[in-house]
């Protein structure tokens, strides 16, 4: 498929021709009808309407509390606290470990992104 500026122009021209062909066929009556239709449409678009026929929720429909996920709290041997939440992971283990990089010499820190994603 080829990009073609003439094709774009042709599209615009064809639309004009279609409109012109339609216009030639218009009678005074149909012109009045078009104006009438557009006026009706505008009136309808500007109408104030009662949207309260649509359903909505009340405060009473929203629970004020959320159930907190069940978890187990344990501690590692060195006293680091661990919160454990059971999740259905389809048998796949996910692990994310964070390291304290404070002891890393400042000039080396810029290379850290090489070791991460």
């Amino acid at each position: 498929m080829k990009p073609d500026e003439a094709f774009a122009k042709q599209g615009v021209l064809e639309e004009q021709q279609r409109v012109q062909a339609t216009e030639r066929k218009l009678t005074e009556n149909s012109k009045t009808q078009i104006r009438q239709d557009c006026a009706n449409l505008r009136r309808r678009q500007e109408e104030r309407e009662n949207v309260d026929v649509l359903p909505k929720i009340d405060l009473a429909d929203i629970p004020l509390t959320r159930p907190y996920p069940v978890y187990h709290k344990t501690k590692l041997a060195n006293g680091v606290p661990v919160w454990q939440f059971n999740q259905p992971t389809n048998g796949i283990a996910h692990i994310r470990i964070k390291f304290d990089v404070n002891s890393l010499p400042e000039p080396l820190k810029k290379y850290l992104p090489l070791c991460s994603e």
Partner: protein
Amino acid sequence: MKRLFANLNSRAIHTAAARGLNRQKYNLVPGQTIHGFTLEESKYIPIYDMTGYKLVHNQTKARYIHLDSANTDNSFAVLFRTPPINSTGICHILEHLSLCGSKKYPVRDPFFNMIRRSLNTYMNAWTGADFTMYPFSSQNKKDFQNLMSVYLDATFFPLLRHEDFLQEGHRLEFTPGEGKLQVNGVVYNEMKGAMSNPEEYFSLRLMQNLFRTNCYRFNSGGDPAIIPELQLEQLRDFHSTYYHPSNAWFYSFGDLDFTEHLSLINSQVLSQFPAAKSVDSKIAKEPRSTGATRTVEERFVPDKMRPLNQQGKLAMACLCDESYADPYKSAAMMLISKLLVDGTSSPMYKALVASGLADSYCPGMGYDLGTRDAVFTLGVQGSLYDAEHLSRVEKAITDTLRQVREKGFDEKSFEKALHETLFSAVLLAFDPLVATNQGKLWPEPHLADDPPHSLRLRPLPCLQCHRICEPAARGLQAHHAFPGPRPAVPPRQLRKSVLPPASHRTVGSSSS
């Protein structure tokens, strides 16, 4: 005031208790009738820890699938099979118009009003090449029921008013100053934009050249040159023919009691339709041409932001087997497509792009199951200089296909692709809720035949993935790379190996 809060609290606790993992259990058996529906089948789907329920409405034969999940985000969709009958955009304009007010909710724009006045987590409506779908989701039960009521009334009992047709479809108007006649309309203008988008136009023309007899030969969105031919009466007829319960598919997902959804649908909609109707909305299979390959050259409106000589597009495409007719075959084709074109080390990428022959792949590269007959597309876009250049691209494509056919894929790439496919299916990064909202989990409507339809979800990301896994396991076990079906995967093998069949694993437990 204090008392009111106390009441609210007790109610909230009561509601919360019945949700998520603590949700109600269903005691439904196949053959049982509930709210006018008969349960045909129920099945636990271990990979997502969901249970699927497939029902059919006794009186109207409307189909219903529910996926029971602990997810408190609930989604609902109603879908109609709407094969376009011409390129007037009839399905697309109807989709817009049905959201312009209905019998029970006669306001101009119930859709956008509900976006503002509800707690929805998703609201949409769209027209596909052969279906029209109206999905939403919400976590709040009352909100969910409100949205469901609005969606059902919009789709089954829309007002389809003349003024809305002029606004959303097409109209003639005289410009305010000069009084020049012009065509206007939301869909009319939207499609003018779409047709000057090179990628969209390319995909449309490719499809129209592949499907020359069935409904895909029409522009389902509407061709601006033809849209003005559409009459409101035709649109109303189309609605009464295709937006009938006998041509409807209802889907729901989540932890809310779906039997309440059934009750709402039955009382608000289905009970008002006295009988089933025979709706001819099946999509015909495209006959295969027996002649030589057809070559078509088309022109398109260029992208103004890029030089003209960098915008060429070339695709070689063919019709394949019927989409999902054999889920195993479809899954295998997806895998072949992945191996052939995905990633910088794939044979097609090497031959077409890394070689410097072309800038990038064309839109729609690879295997596509979006139509009744699946389509395989291979091609490029960018700087395509002349006929000689085009024929070099064609030759590179056919040579690569020939090489792959003779030598096969290398074993490492195959293992990697299979592993990635299966891993992404079980990873749950693939969110069933999102998939539900986007219609990705439901059986394609062009496959879902008249009842009994199948409680078969789509193969990829795949609930059938163990089907591809098993034969692959037999083939690969010789190379010690693949653990055979066993109750659970020892964690140390996970990195190197393909996961065992989903049906052999337990969900929610990390040990065997």
